[in-house]
């Protein structure tokens, strides 16, 4: 099969699953195929890297603990020559690991044990994002209540324009461009305040609070902005 431009509306995307547990690979294989994806499997990091290099993959699902090498290591090697979207399978109580994975270049993570629906939502979101050319038109978000146009820099809530400060807009834009995925705190701080303010997370909390307020959102019952404690923020998937 020759590589073709990916279109999320044609779900023939090829997914590589790298996990040493047979049972996990089996149910991922069954579920992914049921959704119309083509699935390749690897039980070790080496095998996975070889498959990713020899065959053109559209998405990689990578376990963080592999018998021959750490998932982080596989990700680092993969990132030296490929920008294929990667979803890491992590364990709970490992916020630091999640941040590390995302900062090394993972596009998203799912915590084991996970539901198939949750994983499929992430897979769809990543393949969709990828279908938007990076130099093309940024997405316009509209759910009937909130309207965000990243080209015209317009934000409206229930038809009324919302006045955002420069930084509030920058945060919304960053999260929206990565909609459905967690953007880590270090990434947000770096992008909005620059490298000298890596520890000013207090600013970030205040900023998120204000942005939520202006979007009519609440941390107690989030509609748009979701906090993943200790990891980062995610715009509705």
């Amino acid at each position: 099969m020759s590589p073709t431009p990916i279109d999320a509306s044609v779900p023939a995307a090829r997914v590589l699953v790298i996990d040493d547990e047979t049972q996990i690979r089996r149910f991922l294989d069954i579920s992914l195929r049921a959704q119309g994806y083509q699935v390749r499997q690897a039980a070790t990091g080496q095998e996975g890297l070889q498959l990713a290099a020899s065959e053109d993959m559209d998405l990689v699902i990578l376990d963080i603990g592999l018998p021959d090498m750490e998932g982080h290591e596989v990700l680092e090697q993969l990132r030296q020559w490929s920008q294929v979207p990667v979803i890491m399978l992590t364990v709970r109580a490992g916020e630091a690991e999640k941040v590390r994975a995302l900062d090394t270049g993972a596009n998203d993570y799912v915590t084991k044990p996970f539901g198939t629906q949750e994983l499929m939502a992430r897979v769809r979101a990543l393949l969709r994002t990828r279908s938007v050319p990076s130099d093309g038109t940024p997405p316009v978000f509209d759910d009937g209540h909130l309207h965000v146009d990243l080209v015209r820099r317009e934000v409206a809530l229930e038809g009324e324009p919302v006045a955002l400060t420069r930084k509030e807009y920058a945060l919304l834009s960053l999260l929206l461009r990565n909609a459905g995925r967690v953007v880590t705190q270090p990434q947000i701080l770096q992008e909005i305040w620059g490298p000298t303010h890596q520890h000013d997370t207090h600013y970030l909390r205040i900023l998120v609070g204000k942005l939520r307020h202006k979007l009519g959102d609440s941390a107690l019952d989030s509609r748009y902005l979701f906090t993943e404690p200790g990891v980062g923020l995610r715009f509705k998937g």
Partner: protein, 417 residues
């Protein structure tokens, strides 16, 4: 002449008598001092609780009684005075005495060049458990027998006291081991029960599906699949609790503080709870004016989640679980209130106790109940506290989490724009 002679004889006899008397008085005084010193030492040693205290008390008493600087080492504890300390040669002699269980240094055949005289502290089988040193530099040519006797007797007393404290410590250690053993077996039986029940439901449901699935209608198949899903998630939460418990128990818990909104923490916990229990009713009262707090976000979220999950477990289906957060006197207070059956007064303090939750085992509607113990551990690690109180109108239970509001060492006021 005879008179003179007689006088002389009498004087001689009297002189000798007086001299003997004087000697006797001196000996008596020495014996007295000896007795007093040992009495005093005995009193001080009686109240000493560990090797360190025995060494301190012993050194002090030796110095008083012998009137020279003293030095003592028992196990890893060393007691030294400020006036004079053993040098390298002296320490070599001390080491020798300790290893051979024999005196060394001055007045002995071993390392006689030392300025200290070292006596081993012997246990019942002539093994040295410590060593005492007395500073006796050049001026004094030899040791008086009384000095030797007194020093030996006192060192013997100190050794006895050290042995006694060691025995007490060993008994305490044995007691702790017993407690640990008791907890271990209670945990084990609780864990095997808690892991088995969901597993039994999962295996049974999966087996039914595999064997008879073809003959079932859609609703029955769906019900069995739901059981597998729900029980699997339950199992996952137990295992997470056990892992958290282990982390807390081994002090492997590292607090990585960061800023996080109170609404964000409680919102995240509520979101997770609703995912596991879609029917749960929550009433969240978190003022938007609450400032962000500086804590380990994931740990505090887990602590709040555990309390909310517990409240949901005991709430009647129609009653909501209330969560309120307030800032009071530099502290954050999170109250989680349920309208459940409540907790008897005498048991209220114990619900955080691991034994209580573990030993109750089956009585808990859904297993271990380690959640509250873990919550207390996580909040405690932040310098906060967790209390169980009666519900607002006397019904149900109110669990109160109190966290001190800390700030990082260098913290400027925020300026988001």
């Amino acid at each position: 002449m005879i008179t003179v002679f007689l006088f002389l004889a009498a004087a001689l006899v009297a002189g000798r008598l007086a001299s003997r008397l004087r000697m006797q008085v001196i000996a008596l005084r020495a014996a007295n001092r000896h007795a007093r010193a040992r009495q005093q030492l005995g009193r001080q040693l009686a109240s000493a609780a560990g090797h360190g205290e025995v060494a301190q008390a012993g050194r002090h008493a030796l110095e008083q009684a012998m009137d020279v600087p003293a030095w003592l080492r028992i196990g890893g504890d060393t007691a030294a005075g400020g006036r004079s300390q053993p040098g390298d040669t002296d320490l070599a002699a001390a080491d020798w005495a300790l290893r051979h269980g024999q005196p060394s240094g001055r007045f002995t055949d071993t390392l006689a060049g030392a300025q200290w005289w070292f006596l081993p502290l012997l246990d019942g089988e002539d093994r040295a458990i410590g060593v005492a040193g007395l500073y006796l530099p050049g001026a004094q040519a030899r040791l008086l027998p009384e000095q030797r006797q007194l020093a030996e007797a006192m060192v013997d007393d100190i050794a006895q006291a050290a042995l006694r404290t060691r025995l007490v410590a060993e008994l305490e250690q044995a007691h702790v081991s017993n407690e640990t053993e008791r907890l271990r077996s209670a945990l084990l039986s609780s864990v095997s029960h808690d892991l088995r029940s969901p597993l039994a439901a999962m295996i049974g449901s999966a087996d039914s599906l595999a064997s008879y699935g073809a003959a079932m209608d859609t609703a029955d198949r769906r019900a069995l699949l739901d059981t597998i899903l729900v029980e699997g998630e339950r199992l996952d939460r137990y295992i997470q609790n056990l892992l958290d418990m282990t982390r807390l128990g081994h002090e492997g818990l590292k607090i990585n503080r960061d800023w996080i909104g109170v609404d964000e923490l409680i919102g995240s916990a509520a979101r997770r709870l609703q995912r596991y229990q879609p029917k749960v009713r929550l009433e969240l009262d978190i003022p938007s004016t609450l400032a962000p707090i500086w804590v380990h976000p994931a740990l505090v979220e887990q602590a709040v989640f555990n309390v909310m999950e517990n409240a949901a477990k005991f709430s009647p289906p129609d009653a909501a679980v209330q969560v309120q957060a307030r800032e009071l006197d530099g502290q954050l207070r999170i109250d989680v209130i349920d309208a459940g059956p409540g907790i008897p007064d005498d048991e209220r303090a114990r619900i955080f106790d691991m034994f209580y939750s573990v030993e109750r085992g089956d009585r808990g509607r859904h297993g271990t109940g380690l959640g509250l113990t873990i919550c207390q551990g996580m909040i405690g690690a932040h310098g906060g506290s967790v209390q169980a109180l009666p519900g607002r109108d006397g019904r149900g239970t109110l669990i109160r989490i109190t966290l001190p509001l800390l700030k990082p060492a260098s913290h400027d006021e925020p300026d988001p724009d």
